[in-house]
């Protein structure tokens, strides 16, 4: 996916200022986890409803920076409707992208807007925080 920097910024900003599925008011069968960045206070809760191995719904709430908030929003938008193996594949590719390892950008869709975050080492954790939460949710579901 080839996007110019301005387009990437617009997408990130759009998701920061009008996040997708922000606010958690969900039923008990959602799995809810907290993910926080101890050094800079990004602090989010992510909740997901997983049925028959598919992420039916996900939402989040919390107090976080532009990168973290928008990444959570884009992640949720991307993962809803995916099977758990598909979701894990996306998460792994995203983590690899942020950590400057080999990754398959064709799996990431809109998440590719974060492909330059690695240039700001202090923002890597911000971008990864929601993915840590989602990994946690998936591993709890698998238990």
């Amino acid at each position: 996916m080839d996007m110019d920097e301005k387009m990437k910024r617009d997408i990130i900003l759009e998701h920061y200022q009008s996040p997708f599925h922000k606010g958690i008011d969900v039923e008990e069968n959602y799995i809810k986890v907290n993910s926080r960045n101890a050094s800079c206070v990004d602090n989010i809760n992510v909740a997901a409803l997983i049925e028959d191995g598919i992420i039916i719904d996900a939402r989040f709430e919390g107090d976080a920076c532009a990168i973290c908030t928008s990444a959570t929003s884009v992640m949720i938008k991307t993962l809803i409707g995916k099977t758990l193996p598909e979701a894990e594949e996306i998460i792994t590719n995203f983590e690899n992208m942020i950590n400057e390892k080999d990754y398959d950008s064709s799996k990431l869709g809109e998440l590719n807007v974060y492909d330059t975050v690695y240039r700001q080492p202090n923002r890597k954790t911000c971008a990864l925080l929601p993915f840590r939460a989602m990994r946690d949710i998936i591993s709890r579901k698998n238990d």
Partner: protein, 398 residues
């Protein structure tokens, strides 16, 4: 002032994170370097020239610290890794055995983690009760309410001299007098004040005082625990080994060295001690009055100019220290800090290790600009100019 003494400033950085750590003047770096290059030796060990020289310098710095805080004896000065270790030593080496279940300790919600978490652990271990002295509307300590909180179970008041987020300066004299009247221990976290304000432990009836050298132009990894001599005598070390014992035998008999050496097990941070001594000299050569006036001049300018900018919220307009805590409305503090970094301006964002202050100010995180002697009015105006460009925040950080 004295900018030529700080080579790091040549990089063009505008450093407003002095609450976290300060830059080091050349003379401090040279003192540390000289120990490593010219006369390395362990302390309290050898009979050769360099070792004797190190011994002398190591103990002379104790005397410098004593004079800095007006302690009664050199022996009341214990070298530690820093404020955090110092407070932990008091809590777990002294109060863990002196306090009983139900005894009360008074803190405030604007304390740094190092003056809250050890107490929480002690609460868990022996069941002490932590109470928080209320803050005023401007988030400064309401010291008028302290006496109302004291009862027969109250044993300790432990407070920062200057808090690291709000920067309010606590009236040590007044609180020390209250402690004296009610026979309470008074523990002071001087991390944010030691390089900025004169501290007098005797006049203020301080039982224990903790600080770090790196926040007062000195090296990292070295700090001080001051304790009244009789209290230190009763305090147990948390670390045992070489350098702190008088003897030990196979039958398990042993004797520890006297105060303060019984608290200094293992080879100490000798270079750090020497650097700290030089930092103390440097600060005293300038003088606390001059440093404080300079910081207040910068703070007042910052407040005056920041108030003219729309959407800037300042949390501590009135406090008497060089700390300005602020946010741009609707911008996450870390985003502001990353934005300012584009202008080579270093501020701190987050909760500044004061994680329970959010209960009081209602927001979890802020930006903090903390000034020191080498900062200038031009630098403050550069911060102001950058914040005037707040509409560009996301253009710069995303």
């Amino acid at each position: 002032m004295n900018r030529d003494d700080f080579p790091i400033l040549n990089s063009g950085v505008i450093y407003f994170d002095n609450g976290a750590t300060t830059f080091k003047p050349k003379c401090v770096v040279e003192a540390v370097k000289a120990y490593y290059e010219d006369y390395t030796a362990n302390a309290h060990r050898g009979d050769y020239d360099n070792s004797l020289r190190v011994d002398k310098m190591y103990e002379e710095v104790r005397n410098k610290v004593r004079n800095l805080i007006n302690a009664e004896k050199d022996e009341e000065i214990v070298y530690t890794k820093g404020t955090t270790e110092s407070i932990n030593m008091v809590v777990f080496g002294y109060l863990a055995k002196k306090l009983k279940k139900g005894d009360e300790v008074l803190l405030s919600k604007s304390e740094h983690a190092s003056n809250v978490l050890p107490w929480i652990i002690l609460q868990e271990k022996i069941g002490i009760v932590i109470k928080y002295i209320p803050l005023r509307e401007d988030f400064s300590l309401n010291d008028d309410l302290i006496e109302d909180m004291i009862n027969e179970k109250t044993k300790v008041i432990s407070l920062a001299h200057v808090t690291n987020v709000i920067g309010d300066v606590r009236n040590l004299q007044k609180i020390g007098d209250i402690c004296k009247k009610h026979n309470l221990l008074f523990i002071v976290d001087a991390a944010q004040s030691i390089g900025h304000l004169k501290v007098d432990v005797q006049e203020c009836n301080v039982s224990f005082l903790a600080f770090s050298a790196h926040k007062m132009l000195g090296p990292t990894g070295i700090g001080v625990l001051y304790g009244k001599y009789d209290l230190l005598k009763e305090m147990d070390p948390l670390t045992y080994g070489g350098g702190m014992n008088a003897f030990f035998e196979a039958d398990c008999s042993y004797e520890l060295k006297d105060v303060p050496w019984k608290f200094e097990a293992g080879t100490q941070n000798i270079a750090g001690v020497i650097g700290m001594g030089r930092a103390i000299d440097y600060i005293l050569e300038i003088g606390f009055d001059k440093i404080h006036q300079h910081e207040m001049k910068l703070k007042n300018l910052a407040i005056q100019e920041l108030k003219k900018i729309p959407n800037i919220k300042i949390y501590n307009e009135k406090t008497e220290s060089g700390i300005v805590t602020f946010n741009i409305d609707k911008v996450f503090s870390q985003d502001t800090a990353v934005f300012l970094n584009r202008f080579k301006i270093a501020v701190r964002s987050g909760n500044h290790c004061a994680k329970i202050l959010k209960d009081e100010i209602g927001i979890t995180n802020t930006c903090r600009a903390s000034f020191y002697l080498y900062n200038t009015e031009e630098e403050v105006m550069a911060l102001v100019a950058a914040l005037k460009r707040q509409d560009e925040v996301y253009d710069h950080i995303i």
